[in-house]
Amino acid sequence: MKLLICGGRVIDPAQGLDRVLDVLVEKGRIAQLSPDIDPPTGAKLIPAQGKLVVPGLIDMHTHLREPGREDKETISSGTKAAVNGGITSVACMANTNPVNDNQAVTEFIYSQARKTGHCNVYVVGSVTQGQQGKLLVEMGELKATGAVAYSDDGCSVKNTEVMRRALEYASMLDMLVICHCQDADLAPQGVMHEGLISTMLGLEGMPALAEETMLARDISLAALTGARLHIAHVSTAGSVELIRQAKARGIKLSAEATPHHFSLTHEVVRNFDTNTKVNPPLRTAEDVAAIIEGLKDGTIDVIASDHAPHTSAEKEAEYNYAPFGIIGLETLLPLSLTRLVHSKAMPLMDVIARLTINPARILSLDKGTLNVGAEADITIIDLDKRFKLDIAGFKSKSKNSPFQGAELQGLPVLTLVGGKLNTSEY
């Protein structure tokens, strides 16, 4: 099967490429990249005039919920949502049930992904057994089974000694550790950002400090151990500054931000909509501005969704009792384009880099570029299309998004995963 994507504006940050080119796909790989390619006989033509052609997006922070909570999401439905959102590779977090702390669960996820998946799936194992923060997982075995990183995402490894050993051991294996930085003692019952709105609503707050103190600890540990550390879903201005300073000191560190953390503030909690309940919480306008600044100057390397599906039954509850989480696979690209590109906050090339080659490099994946010979993971984007977001059409099993009805600009129209074609529906 041959495909020829004709006349699109090809943007490939890995090659510094931004020009109108044709892309020829053969046997699931990129065969040729040049202007005005003569269509080979039998090739399917995909007109892309006026569209962007970019490497398939890589979302390095998702929760696919399988095994354990298939009522929220499955590997099948989650990867279908990913592809609909223009994402061709996802890394899925370890807080499944059972926790992905052993090679059997990792092997199961890869097996399910092969059988039922719609895009590339990469598995993140936990740091500690059962995510209990006490005993290390068999990191070597997990790596051998295909895990691409370790994370106790959802919480921090509280015990600093355990975290030190985890980072030392992971660095021996040259493996990445992804940290959800939060001092649980500083936000034991918190459900939203600690600030004016939490004071008004009488909801217990999670102070910015809870993230920043743990981040400062983890930066010190990274400096000590030389481990590769990745900071998940940065949410505060103070965190952005800590990461900026750490990078300036030469510490091996990368970081991600989510679209909801650069699009929304704690103001949206005012009506007690549980779809705004997320961990880390939505913070202030100053934090949003700092995250965008951090994305712009490269302090924050990656945009990731932290796709966290929950059933409507769970979210239709009192704010205190509803689970944390926002779905994000199908809003990752439209929100990034609307809030960062169309708002003129960032150049398009840099936004695409944070969705493609940057996460690929951090996870050591041979992905995220349109180099000749690369697997044909390609996303075709209508950059200027304006639309009103309707979550009812999402492919994710869960609908917990605070962006229902949002007026957005820019969406994926076509996605190729290893050369296999999917049409996006919005």
């Binding site: 600030g195 004071t199 704010y319 009792y321």
Partner: protein, 308 residues
């Protein structure tokens, strides 16, 4: 004039004319409770459900009697003897109750926003009888009524709210109510129990009760919840009482016409000494009497507000 909403969820959203309407209606209904036959037929055929997810003596009884004095049928549900124990969620409970066609559901719940959730799900009126640390709007209304009865005008009064501001729905509702009516509000308490950015709600903050007492026209003392000590918010009840409890000695510095208020239940000897609680400046039991009038007014206004 009627209220702007089918529900009564928070003082925050209330307009001054709405507050005035509830107060003046309460003033005119208060007389019913002084009659020999304490009942009017106004709300005959109306049904009120009291849905209480927290224990309550004053508020639940007050709503029940308020309904009965207006001839409404009042049903009480407490969660320790209902399907909540079987794990039924608030949404299902609410929808099942509404299927029995009540006119008002009065809800008290430990989670902020629970009444709002109910209000968005149901066609009947919802009254917030206290939602976590968020609001207790009928308490603020009865406090306004009590202050207005004693002081005439609320505007310009110096009101100190003393105690655990962070966890207090009474404090929040009163901050909105009093500032809307033009009073000057100071919140007083240990720094650990004053929530961040509270001054942005238009109040002053003090950590020294002694400095606040001489200026205050009203001292509103909040219940200190004993479990807060174990949360590490202050070292001991003994120290709390010394620094923030009100006793006769501290009261010597107060204005001669100061009002002492407390939403109850009182921890005698902790935040309030018995001599003060039962003393001449205390209007604590009048607050309870006014609570009844305010709740009668509220259910009357929510159910249409025709001539009595």
């Amino acid at each position: 004039m009627l209220l702007n909403s089918k529900d009564f969820l928070e003082i925050k959203q209330l307009t001054v004319p709405e507050i005035e309407l509830i107060l003046s209606t309460a003033e005119s209904l208060k007389e019913i409770s002084q009659r020999d036959i304490k009942k009017v037929p106004t709300l005959r055929g109306k049904t009120i459900i009291n849905l209480f997810y927290e224990v309550s003596t004053r508020t639940r009884t007050s709503f029940e009697i308020a309904g009965k004095r207006m001839s409404a049928d009042v049903v009480n549900i407490s969660t320790n003897s209902s399907s909540v124990l079987k794990g039924e969620g608030l949404k299902d409970t609410a929808c099942n109750l509404e299927a029995m066609k009540p006119d008002i559901i009065v809800i008290r719940h430990p989670a902020p926003g629970a009444p709002h959730m109910l209000a968005s799900l149901l066609d009947c009126s919802v009254i917030n009888a206290g939602d976590g640390a968020h609001e207790h709007p009928t308490q603020a209304m009865l406090d306004l009524l009590t202050i207005r009865e004693k002081k005439g005008d609320i505007a310009g009064l110096q009101v100190a709210i003393v105690g655990d501001i962070t966890h207090s729905r009474v404090a929040r509702s009163n901050i909105w109510a009093l500032t809307k009516m033009g009073a000057k509000v100071t919140v007083v308490g240990p720094k650990t129990l004053i929530p961040p950015y509270i001054e942005q709600l238009g109040v002053s903050v003090s950590y020294r009760l002694a400095e606040v007492i001489p200026k205050a026209d009203v001292l509103m003392i909040l219940r200190i919840q004993l479990e807060r000590q174990h949360g590490g918010f202050f070292p001991s009840l003994r120290e709390y009482s010394k620094l923030f409890g009100l006793n006769l000695e501290k009261l010597k510095a107060a204005k001669t016409d100061v009002l002492i208020m407390h939403p109850g239940p009182i921890n005698r000897g902790v935040e309030l000494d018995p001599e003060v609680a039962d003393g001449p400046y205390s209007v604590i039991l009048e607050q309870v009497t006014n609570g009844l009038a305010v709740r009668m007014a509220l259910i009357y206004l929510l159910l249409g507000g025709v001539d009595i």
